[in-house]
Each structure stands twice: as structure tokens, then as C-alpha cells.
Symmetry: C2
Subunit: 346 residues, 2 copies
DNA sequence: TTGTAAGCGTTATCAT
DNA sequence: ATGATAACGCTTACAA
């Protein structure tokens, strides 16, 4: 048990409660509550007096009392695998804003290494502690997953990361396959012929979809499979892939890399190995994080519409929470960003 | 008012409550509560039966009921000016972890453009909604500030950003002046003579302290003031400064830039203008965000010990919340990171 | 060792 | 239009 001394060093002045306002305004607490809630069953005069008193005392409702009584929380849990990744950080800004607009607060659960804490937070969905959950990776807390699979509708929405049809999670995403297809087609149009792919891990749906897009594009162009390296989305994965590629027979003309972070590592390691981008190998990434345009060379990539996804995800979730019908899937348009890293060499 | 239909599309199965466990285990609610709390005033047999029942039903305590009854929340509010900035994103990861370790949850308030929402959240400190506040910028919510200034002790800690002595906020920070001094001294030792400074805004304490460090270093070395440009900490500020500098008389040997982000913009814009770093101008930044080493050229900078600061800030706050004595200031050691951007040209 | 009951601050139902 | 009062789910004296 945690120490629970009664002598807090910060003398906690007693919070202002309804009863304090009631006394000051000379009405009952019921009337105070109604006035503050903007009910029309109060005389204008009384309401004004109450509101004045409330402001004078600096009243702030106790969220726990309200949530307990109303049996409904105004907290949305956002499950994030990695804060440090720009994708998630930016998503968070926009979710926070959208949530506030709708009258909700955002709480974060980090699903990084250890999901226990996060799962426990998510379970509060069933205890009324939180109103809904936004998933941003392929991860889904076990209890939520099993209920979802049993056909139950829950206030749970996934965004950023794609959702398999059989997962039954309301989803806000881009068309990953089409996006990958488009950017690889851009490489083809630049004149590149041997286009390899640095993919994510084979177990990840998002990686599989981006690979599928790459494959469709080279098939359509009648190009030969120049090889796939399965690694991951992090900087280090890109570095490792670069070393592997340089050790191999002959270099491809271009590489489509499934994430910008990996692309940074890839290009950076190639430079160390004396291979220059795009002169010797052209590169295209995926995500368009803020550093992509500052990178040398500036990275050609797919821009993830993070703001639109975040807002749509929140709005969808709020709609479900407040009794609407979940829509299943909704797709957000993506955008190609062509920069120097993909330019034809020579 | 928000629509509040009673027919939620997700049939909310009634949450499991203590009374459900009580029935299943054939004991009173009080005994259930005691068992789950690990009280020693319960027989082992009963406790086991209760815990078994609780797990079987998938019980999760209602946080609002607990907080209301215990008159103490387990939520820490972290006020962040900008999620997208790596500094804050990383800080958040570590705070989240440290908070969970101590049994708290983290809630985020974005103090970006509009502080109203954030202030309102912060005010919950006085209504019992949150247990304490961590500030990460110079911003401090008005009500908190005025109470602090009146000499009151509050569970409020600032980190990352320095605190003025007169602010009376418990603070976890690095020695900004010393750090700036050291990195400028490194530039001096590289042989640079005309060392300019790209500072933040004049109104910001952190900018003033870094400028002070720069000034001390060049004074000690007996160098002339090669000029200060006051802009800001963002990429765009760095770009603008680069243009201003190139338009001026003659270029300095080196520039100490008060933030890595601004340094990215500065170097990037210089490249566009045909000035190369570090060949024509050496550059040193401040922060050591994750891109700093991927940047071209890799950036010499001061590493902010984000993890240590985050953990110390949380621990300090928790100590105050739980009745300890606030320590005032505590300093975390920083570290110089020397990379190519500061190398002597020629 | 266990049960009974009061109460945390708020909202909502029922009177008046 | 307003006031009394019963919940909301939980913890914790106090009783047994």
C-alpha cells in the first residue's frame, strides 16, 4: 500500500461544491445544479445569481461525481504503440483537439513493450471509467477483441493502421494498397526498372498491404520482382536492410520502403557504405513525417492524412458512444509527395 | 445539449460491480472491497473466494466511484505546448511509464494556440478531478499561478523548461546556462572565432538562459559579439534567420542555435542559398532530438536528458501529492553530443 | 473476521 | 420555479 499521510504539505483548501454556491445564492443545491446545467426550468433571475456566485467562488464540477451519477464518462482512451514516432504524436494533437470540440478528454495508453497496463486501462470501458477507445496500431486489447469477435458492438474505433475485415472493428484508414501502388508506379514512371521493396514485418497487415500495392504496380508494368526484404518500420531496420542489400549481387534501381523512418536509416546507412541516393539508388518511403522534407535528399513518400484520420476517428467514436450506428469502414484520401529521393539517376 | 439517446447501438452489458461479486462469493460488499484491497482483516479463505469470483466476472473498479469516495484522483495532468515536437513526445513516453509505476494515469492538456481548454482541465486540481500537474513549458495556468504566487504549496511541477526563482514552482531542469556555455566553448575549441547566436524569443526564459551561456563563453574566450538573431525554436524560424544572415555583411564562422528544430531549418535554408555546413559555417544546436543524428550534416548539440527529467518530475510530483515536502529546484546532468556540424572548416 | 451503514458531489425524480 | 431526496459504486468507521 502506498503511504497515505493525512498531512499534505500543500494545505488543500476545500474544493468549492454545489452546496457552497447554494448558500451564497440562497437557493437549494438542486437549483444550483439546474442553473449551471442551463436548464430552462429556472427563472432567469435565479440563474444569473447562481452563475455569479459560482464564478465568484471559482466553482469547477467534480468530474468523478458527475461521471458516477450520470453513469457516463467523458474520457476517450487512445492506445498508442509509440509516442516518439511522429505519426502518433501528430495524430494525438488532432485527436485531442477533436475530442475537446466534442466535449471529451483524451487519455493515453502506451502499448509499447508491456500491454498489461494498457489492457487494464482499456478494461475500464466495461466499468464505466472510459467512454470509448481509439486504436492506432494492429493491437487490440484481448477483452475488447473477444467481445468484438462475438459480434458485440463496442465504442471502439481503429485508425492509422488498417483493419482486417474479420476483426469487426470500425475503422478509419487510407487505402494502403492503392497508395503503395501509386508510389511504386511513380518510380516506374521515373524510368526505374528493378524496383525492390523493403517491407515491414510479415505478421503485420499494414506491411502486407503495402507489399501488395508494390506487387500490383510492378506486375502491371511487366517488371520482374527485384526482391523483398522483410524487416520493420524503424530506423535500425532500414540500416540493416541497406547493409544486406549492398552485400548482395547487384543493386536495384530503386527501393520502395514501407515507412519513412526505415527510409531514413536505409539512406543514411547507404551513404556510410558509399552509395548515394538518388544517384545510384532511388528511394520512396511511406508516411510523410515532418522530417521527410528536411532529410537529405528530401524524401518522396505517401502523405498520411493524419489530421483527417484523427478527426474522423474521434467523430466516429463519439457518434457510437452517443448512440449512433457504426459505419464499419471509412477511407480517407491520401496524397503522393514527390521529392528528390526518387529522381531518375543519370 | 448533446444528443443523449437511450438506445446505444452497442448494447452496454451492465458493468460488474462489487455487489455482483458479493453475491457470487456469498459475502457482503464490504468484505469484497476489503479482499480486493488486500486488507489483512479478511480470512485467507474468504479472500481467495472473492478474488476468484472477481476474476471470473472480469471485475474492474469504477474509477469515478473510487476517486469520489477516496477524495483523491489518480490522474496527473501534463501540460504540453506541442505534441509534434520530439522533445515533448519523448518526455510523454517516460512520464507515462513513471506515472504507471507509481499507480497514476496521465492525461494531456494541449496548451498550443488556445489555453482555455487546458486551463479548464487544470482547474480540476481544485475540484479533485486531477491529483497534480506537470508543466513542460513556461506556461502556467492563471489560477495555479496566482495561488502559487500567494505562497501556497500546490502539487505542481515544471520540467524541461526552466523556472524563474520568483515563480515558486517546484522544478526539474538542466542547467541551461552551463549547457549553452559548454557547447559554445566547444565551438571555440574547434577554432571558430566569430560565433553568432540564433536565439529564441526574447520573452522566453529558456531563450534568455541559453543566450546568457553563449555570452559567458565568448566573453571568457575574449571573442567579439558576432551578433544575436532573436526568432524562435521552430524550423521556420531557422530558415528566416538563415536568409537574414546571408543578406548581411559577412558570415560568421559558426552559429550556436538555441534549438535543433531551428537548426534544421537554418542549415536546410543555407543549403538552398548555396552555403554549406560545416564547410562555410559551423553549427551547433540544442535538444538532441532523434533526427539530429540523421540530419545532414549530423548535428552537434546538447542532449536533453528527457527520460531522467520525466521520471524525476513524476516522482517529485507524486511525492508532493502523497504528502512529501517539495524540493524546490533539482538539476539533471546534461551531455554534449559532438557531431559533424560543428567541425572546423578548412 | 464479517456485516451494516454513512457518505463522497452530483443529477434527476418527485413533490410542492 | 424551486426544494427535498434518492441514487451512482465504492470505502471505511463502527457494530457485531
Amino acid at each position: 500500500m502506498r503511504s497515505n499521510s493525512k498531512t499534505n504539505s500543500w494545505e488543500a483548501s476545500r474544493p468549492v461544491k454545489l452546496v457552497d454556491i447554494a448558500k451564497l445564492a440562497n437557493v437549494s443545491i438542486a437549483t444550483v445544479s439546474r442553473s449551471l446545467a442551463g436548464s430552462d426550468r429556472v427563472s432567469n433571475d435565479t440563474r444569473d445569481r447562481v452563475i455569479f456566485a459560482a464564478e465568484k467562488l471559482g466553482y469547477r464540477a467534480n468530474r468523478h461525481a458527475v461521471s458516477l451519477r450520470k453513469q457516463r464518462s467523458r474520457v476517450i482512451l487512445v492506445m498508442i504503440p509509440d509516442f516518439a514516432n511522429h505519426n502518433f504524436a501528430q495524430l494525438l494533437i488532432h485527436m485531442d483537439r477533436a475530442a475537446h470540440r466534442a466535449g471529451y478528454e483524451v487519455m493515453i495508453a502506451h502499448t509499447g513493450d508491456d500491454t498489461l497496463q494498457a489492457d487494464s486501462l482499456a478494461d475500464e470501458l466495461f466499468a464505466g471509467g472510459i467512454a470509448g477507445i481509439i486504436l492506432t496500431s494492429s493491437y487490440c486489447p484481448p477483452r475488447v477483441r473477444s467481445l468484438l469477435l462475438s459480434g458485440k458492438q463496442l465504442p471502439v474505433v481503429r485508425t492509422l493502421s488498417p483493419t482486417g475485415r474479420d476483426e469487426r472493428i470500425t475503422s478509419v484508414q487510407i487505402d494502403e494498397i492503392a497508395a503503395a501502388d501509386e508510389i511504386v508506379t511513380h518510380l516506374v514512371e521515373q524510368g526505374h526498372r528493378r524496383i525492390a521493396h523493403l517491407a515491414g514485418e510479415k505478421t503485420q497487415l499494414v506491411a502486407m498491404q503495402r507489399e501488395e500495392g508494390w506487387r500490383r504496380s510492378i506486375d502491371r508494368a511487366g517488371l520482374k520482382d527485384a526482391g523483398v526484404i522483410y524487416r520493420g518500420f524503424r530506423v535500425e531496420d532500414g540500416r540493416a536492410a541497406a547493409r544486406e542489400l549492398v552485400e548482395g549481387e547487384d543493386l536495384p534501381d530503386a527501393v520502395f520502403i514501407a515507412s519513412d523512418s526505415a527510409a531514413f536509416g536505409f539512406v543514411s546507412e547507404l551513404r556510410l557504405l558509399g552509395v548515394s541516393v538518388p544517384d545510384q539508388i532511388a528511394v520512396a518511403g511511406f508516411d510523410d513525417v515532418s522530417f521527410s522534407e528536411l532529410f537529405t535528399p528530401p524524401l518522396t513518400t505517401v502523405h498520411l492524412p493524419r489530421q483527417a484520420m484523427a478527426e474522423r476517428a474521434v467523430d466516429t467514436l463519439v457518434a457510437i458512444i452517443e448512440g449512433g450506428e457504426p459505419e464499419g469502414y471509412s477511407f480517407i484520401p491520401h496524397r503522393l509527395v514527390v521529392r528528390e529521393s526518387s529522381f531518375r539517376h543519370g
